[in-house]
Amino acid sequence: LAKTTQPISMDSYEGQEVNITCSHNNIATNDYITWYQQFPSQGPRFIIQGYKTKVTNEVASLFIPADRKSSTLSLPRVSLSDTAVYYCLVVKNRDDKIIFGKGTRLHILP
């Protein structure tokens, strides 16, 4: 499983766009990039998954360059409730365990 590296922590302000970058230099051809969000005292929650280029849903956008060695999770106009830990993972499509890295602790300030 490809190892991921992301910042340990980030601070931002309400209303700002937040971009969290993750590197995964050893990503394999059939790996997908997935992001989870974890609020305090809750289990992680799936946010978004992509293979290449750009994926957008109601929560976030995921940008993946052509070499797929990194990815950027973009949270538009964050609010205090976006304060959480965000995990970048590289996963096979199905039927495989997922391994969590250290994650990025995002703190949104008023």
Partner: protein
């Protein structure tokens, strides 16, 4: 999507005792997973549990310490045996969704404190 619950939500236990954590999903799922999350840390996968077969344990985790049962497609248990204070942690179960992507759904966790 399916709902996943865990019991107990928290417990305080004495050293040397065992605790069994239950995980219930409201629909049938093939693969279930057990994780441990120590305070302020990321999640560590303990084992993968498929119905009808022995659980597959990750490096550093053994069946004698963390026996797992998977009697049917909606239920699993994790027992933390002969507990020590180092076992104080949050234990989470999860399952893989039915869609094409590898998406896991997590329970709320069981917060265990060992005195």
């Amino acid at each position: 999507s399916a709902v996943i619950s865990q019991k107990p939500s928290r417990d305080i236990c004495q050293r040397g005792t065992s605790l069994t954590i239950q995980c219930q999903v409201d629909s049938q799922v093939t693969m279930m997973f057990w994780y441990r999350q120590q305070p302020g840390q990321s999640l560590t996968l303990i084992a993968t549990a498929n119905q009808g077969s022995e659980a597959t344990y990750e490096s550093g985790f053994v069946i004698d310490k963390f026996p797992i049962s998977r009697p049917n497609l909606t239920f699993s248990t994790l027992t933390v045996s002969n507990m020590s204070p180092e076992d104080s942690s949050i234990y989470l179960c999860s399952f893989e969704g039915q869609g094409s992507r590898n998406e896991q759904f997590f329970g709320p966790g069981t917060r265990l404190t060992v005195l």
